[in-house]
Symmetry: C2
Subunit: 346 residues, 2 copies
């Protein structure tokens, strides 16, 4: 057992896009697990867009990380010491391990991983929070029907790729949006999207809309919202009557002054949005997957076997070393990752 | 049988608020019912905010009325000639009779009124389209739970008063918004709202919000949207997590350049609205009641007896004479009516 562990702290709050100076790598004495707690050696940490919100001090659905506090986030690792009857050394677990080499957590906050479900990294992506988000949002709020058309951005990411593949399996037309020709090719070739539009190839929402419209001859019935901004503006007028919009994120606005009233407006006004919600009988639902843990067993039972059989593909971008987590996170917010962004720690 | 009938035509499209010049009273030869049709002598016509949308040529969920065409709308009347086995002279019916003294319509588009349900005017208000809109929107999309707080504007109107009374009967706190102290007193005294805020007493959404907040100490769980504009802006930040927003109209924007992208924005940006939809897990549903006729029997079975017993109150503003319909409609858009606006024809 090493005497020291490393972690990454929030050195300061970012003004807009986070920079390297907002993070600090530091050493700490190795903590001892208390009663009911376990010590976990972290193998992989998950980087997710929502963490940008937690770095700011805007009122949001999750409390901000305190300055000088450890960067929070999900991870998978191995139990190396346990004061709980639930776990023993050698067990693999998933939980909010944070950006660190080791973590002490109450046993009750950890989930034991079943090796039959596949590599442990899948618990952070395709079978973890992002995949679960895509599945729940699509099935619960998207209410997909055969023959309809779905649009989702970040199409090769862990949410978008789940949404697109589920939609295809249900007989929908799935049109992706992604940044750059490589990701668009991946969306079609690896994830089976009918088409994928490169948003970087279009300067304006209007031009992006024309490109999308060409691939959505029957309009758009489900817009799975995970980006906001220019993409929202482009898609919105293409929505059909009775369109459904599950909202799980809006990454394009996260770096731009936070998620509040100071975020830059898309070229869409509230009256136009609100009127369309009425006159097109839209159903718009925001959600965070942590309110829906009761559905996790159903998700794993339905989707786990499809992942194991290779019917649902997934893509991981693995960065090596805790010290490189800040750069990987900054890259994630810039769309540099192709699939699920992970950092290998041990 | 008179040889002539009168009707009101759309003389020209309004630019903003309709004026008397947009309407024309004209005589027509009395029409004969064809096969399967009936001739109805109109007793009352209904004036409703949605008609403003039909006077413009904006793309909307209903086709515009052609210039020189008859003003459309619901009405109740008596069958005076029938070429259908469904109806005989003396039957009272409800249907899209238009702004006219007489109308010929296919029998299949008319609903026979049951005198047991109360005065025939109730088929245009509390037990007609507006009451049905309030009931369906609240029950289907509002998902009211005992102890929650609901806010609805136009609180003495036929939609708002239904929503408020149903909410109270289900154990919610109901806070109304209305224009002027008289209507606010009516909302509390006649319809049982816990409180009613006079939006005319506040110049800014921010001041209106403070007044509302004082009556909503636990925030707002359901905002039943029928007005948009300043009221939307005032209520929006008061919404709680998991808030539901059924949208059935936005009268405050109808006169202001139509319902499209040119309508004036409330002081609420799309990113702020969209972010709140996500971070507060909101459920926003636009609807038009004509998509939900299958629910009408359930509505009448549930609410009809309550109206007959006086457990649900209603208020009618009756203007006399077809020639006065335009002025009454202009007044409706200005909020001059207190309850359901009708015009007595026969």
């Amino acid at each position: 057992m090493p005497e020291q562990m490393q972690q990454i702290a929030l050195a300061s709050r970012p003004n807009a896009a986070p920079t390297a100076e907002n993070f600090r790598l530091e050493s700490q004495p190795m903590p001892d697990p208390g009663k009911g707690e376990v010590l976990v050696k972290v193998h992989y940490i998950s980087l997710d867009p929502y963490m940008r919100g937690r770095m700011g001090d805007n009122k949001s659905y999750v409390a901000p990380i305190p300055v000088d506090g450890k960067m929070e986030g999900g991870g998978v690792g191995e139990v190396i010491a346990s004061n709980s009857a639930q776990f023993e050394p050698g067990d693999f677990v998933m939980g909010m391990l944070g950006w660190a080499t080791h973590a002490v957590l109450p046993a009750a906050t950890l989930m034991k991983l079943d090796p039959a479900h596949g590599p442990i990294t899948t618990a952070l992506g395709v079978l973890g929070m992002p995949g679960f988000t895509g599945w729940h949002g699509l099935m619960e709020y998207g209410r997909p029907k055969k023959g309809e058309t779905l649009v989702v951005a970040a199409a090769t990411g862990p949410v978008g790729s789940m949404v697109g593949q589920l939609a295809k399996s249900l007989g929908l037309r799935a049109v992706g949006i992604a940044g750059g020709p490589d990701k668009c090719a991946l969306a079609v070739d690896t994830f089976g999207f009918d088409a994928c539009v490169d948003h970087r190839a279009f300067d304006t929402a209007s031009d992006l809309r024309k490109a999308l419209a060409a691939h959505c001859p029957d309009g758009v019935d489900i817009y799975f919202e995970n980006v906001g901004g220019k993409v929202l503006e482009a898609v919105f007028p293409l929505l059909n009557n009775h369109a459904r919009i599950p909202i799980c994120g809006m990454i394009s606005w996260y770096n731009a002054g936070g998620m509040g009233a100071n975020a830059p407006a898309a070229g869409l006004t509230v009256p136009a949005l609100w009127s369309a919600a009425l006159t097109k009988f839209m159903s718009i639902n925001g959600f965070i997957i942590s309110n829906h843990w009761d559905r996790l067993p159903t998700f794993l039972a339905e989707v786990g076997p499809k992942v194991a059989k290779g019917d649902i593909a997934y893509l991981e971008d693995i960065t090596d070393g805790l010290e490189n987590a800040p750069a990987a996170f900054i890259g994630l917010l810039e769309g540099k990752n192709k699939g699920k962004q992970l950092v290998k720690i041990a």
